[in-house]
Symmetry: C2
Subunit: 114 residues, 2 copies
């Protein structure tokens, strides 16, 4: 499964939206040359928060790009950091090395809670 890189994916999305690197960079608050490097995979993907801003400007959900990087937005990270119960859960989950299906099942359980 030849997976596209983060840079390739970003470049495609940006172009499909008819946005230039400079426009995107300005909206996001970084230098346009940085966007270029990221798109050509000359730099690692941006920080999670920057990715979120990029996706907002481009009008696409950030989930896909975030998932490619293995990073988590600050709010998510903070929510976990401040919550020992959540950490406990994660440590348990890690020792079990859950499958995707199992994570899915848990996500279902999650939704049932409300």
């Amino acid at each position: 499964m030849e997976t596209k890189t983060f840079g390739q994916t970003l470049k495609e999305i940006r172009r499909s939206k008819g946005v230039t690197q400079r426009q995107l960079a300005t909206a996001v608050g970084v230098d346009f040359s940085y966007i270029s490097k990221v798109e050509n995979d000359r730099m690692p993907p941006p920080a999670a928060d920057t990715i979120v801003k990029i996706c907002e400007k481009l009008g696409v959900p950030s989930d896909e790009l975030l998932a490619m990087t293995g990073k988590m937005p600050t709010p998510v990270k903070e929510a976990i950091s401040e919550n020992p119960a959540a950490q406990q859960f994660l440590r348990e989950a890690q020792t079990m090395t859950l499958t995707d299906d199992e994570w899915g099942a848990l996500t279902q359980q999650l939704k049932k809670l409300r």
Copy 2:
């Protein structure tokens, strides 16, 4: 609820085990002066992995100290980073701002999976 600081807690545990700062530092692989600063809250708590080593040397579970810092050991972090399904779960969980009890319930579900 007057919560003890990380440093205070560590100092107490270390002393209760009759271990000196230098012994602990050597076992963990850091400078003893660093231990001193951490214990006196002149520096933020060590990296998660260092905390784990400290707890191993002191013969106590790392859960409590880790929870105080809001940090996660490398293996846990990696497991999440590499797993989009886990990230999805966490983003959902964050938007819901779960209670401790709810996290507990999920941890129970988790155990049922095996």
